[in-house]
Amino acid sequence: MTYDLAVIGAGPAGASATIEAAKAGLDTVLIDEQRAAGGQVWRAKGPAIKAAPATPEGKTGDRLRAALAAVTADRHFSARVWDIERHTDGFRISAISPTGALTIETRAVLLAGGAQERVFAVPGWTLPGVIGLGAATALMKEQLVLPGNRVIVAGVGPLLSFVAHEIIRNGGKVAAVVDLNPLSVWLRCLPDLIGSPGLLVRGAWWRLRLWAAGVAYFHECGIRSIEGDRAVSRVTIGAVDANWCPLGAATQTYDADAVCLGHGLAPATEASRLLGADHQYDGGQGGWKPVTDDVGRTTVPGLFVAGDGAGVQGAAAAQLQGRISALAIAEDLGLLTTREWRRRSAPLILRIGKAQRFGRAMTALTIPRPGLIEAIAPDTLVCRCEGLSRHDIEAEIRAGANWPNAIKSGTRCGMGPCGGRYCTETVTELACRITGKTPGEFGIPTARPPLRPVPIGCLSGEFDYDDLPIPPPAPL
């Protein structure tokens, strides 16, 4: 059968879109690689957890999961989409689910893959014990395990105080929080935050609790190095200037057995790039994002994007965007009259402004600044998969590789199994420093299938060697 709509990603945008689409009468299928809906932000607790104290994220996620369970739509969890092809009548999606290979035909696709964590290289970031800030939230929300016994929380953006607060709330120790931004940037974006008082109060509460617990919170500071023999044992931090460039020799060293490191979120664009949609660079929304109209229509007919994958704006905005996109798709497919589309979408469009303003202010705090890469030592690995150092990559750029695919083909940087997810941002900043280009001018590598690593055995599906048609031998 052919679905009207396939939604990829069951976070705030995708799950909300599926609910709205099912209510509008669309034959909808929802695919997500996690075990349950909720995305990274409202991640469900893992099967090992039988009972745990309720959290605001957990409660919101449970409400969304209950609403999703009440609608009629096919759903595939723990399923990873590794290819999407567009053909004349729609799209063909290839995925791997726990039961095997999955092929889905659909008239329209809504990409709701959310954001991915941006982590810039620092000396020692490949040591066991260093995890992403987003990874720390997943570990604590889903598994209820702490990232370490004495943790340094470092980087930039609102996740810093959230992660540090979650660690101390759950009985762990935070050695220090190390924030590249000055406190003043938070005060400066207050006007954008006032419209969402609930979120603002929560953020202020985290800071207050950290202060009350005596956790050292350093502004305008960054990690100089992470050291240890086979695992993190010491972290050295130092001051940075307004460009996040290391400033002076004065440093402080902490004993720590874990580092949670992150520099904001970027839209996960591999699927929209694979399908050939136009993209643009907008640092204020996390970097490269697909070009869309107000309802999430991309430049590819039938392809929509909602949520952080369309530009990082946070969960509140993503939920509304998902619903608006679902209604727009229903109208495009002729399953909703224009009048009915207007009636259903108007109240959502009215509410989305405030949520977007808050989300964009948070994302703007994490726009990478050029000094960030100055802390990377020449021998620090930038591409974890291919073992390439800053020196290796800069040598390639200086030799004339001045766009992403040239660096890729010259060094294999970004061609390892992570698909360039943890090196592209650092490489972009290194290249911009040498070539004088902006990230938008430098570009982004071509996306190719598989979108996720796939075991070869799963691809052959029901294939049997005996089914191979063997042509008769050519006459002598």
Binding site: K50, V145, A231
Partner: protein
């Protein structure tokens, strides 16, 4: 690496099961992600950098970075995408010799 603490306050977990990694027997609540179970058990190095041979461990916890790749039943899979079950046999990937440029 030191053991990563499981949050205890107000939390109840599934019954503990035993699994094996490289011949070492470990206990974890059934259904806990293998990555979390290895962190809780203080297993530091999960694999070695494919090209540099340096110790690596859990990094992204969402199945993207491939740093926690292990072998189970002859298949390579991310430890953060597998749940612990009784009698599960896990092998770490053979450390590769560092490749010198």
């Amino acid at each position: 690496m030191q053991h990563r603490p499981r949050i205890q306050k107000g939390v109840s977990r599934a019954a503990t099961v035993r699994f094996v990694i490289d011949g070492i027997e470990l206990d974890a609540p059934a259904g806990e992600s293998l990555a979390a179970a290895l962190m809780a058990a203080g297993i530091g190095t999960i694999r070695h950098g494919p090209m540099d041979g340096q110790p690596r461990s859990v990094f992204c916890l969402i199945g993207l970075c491939q740093e926690c790749l292990v072998e189970i039943d002859g298949m390579q899979i991310e430890a953060c995408r597998v749940n612990v079950s009784a009698g599960m046999q896990v092998n770490r990937l053979r450390p590769m010799d560092p490749i010198k440029p």
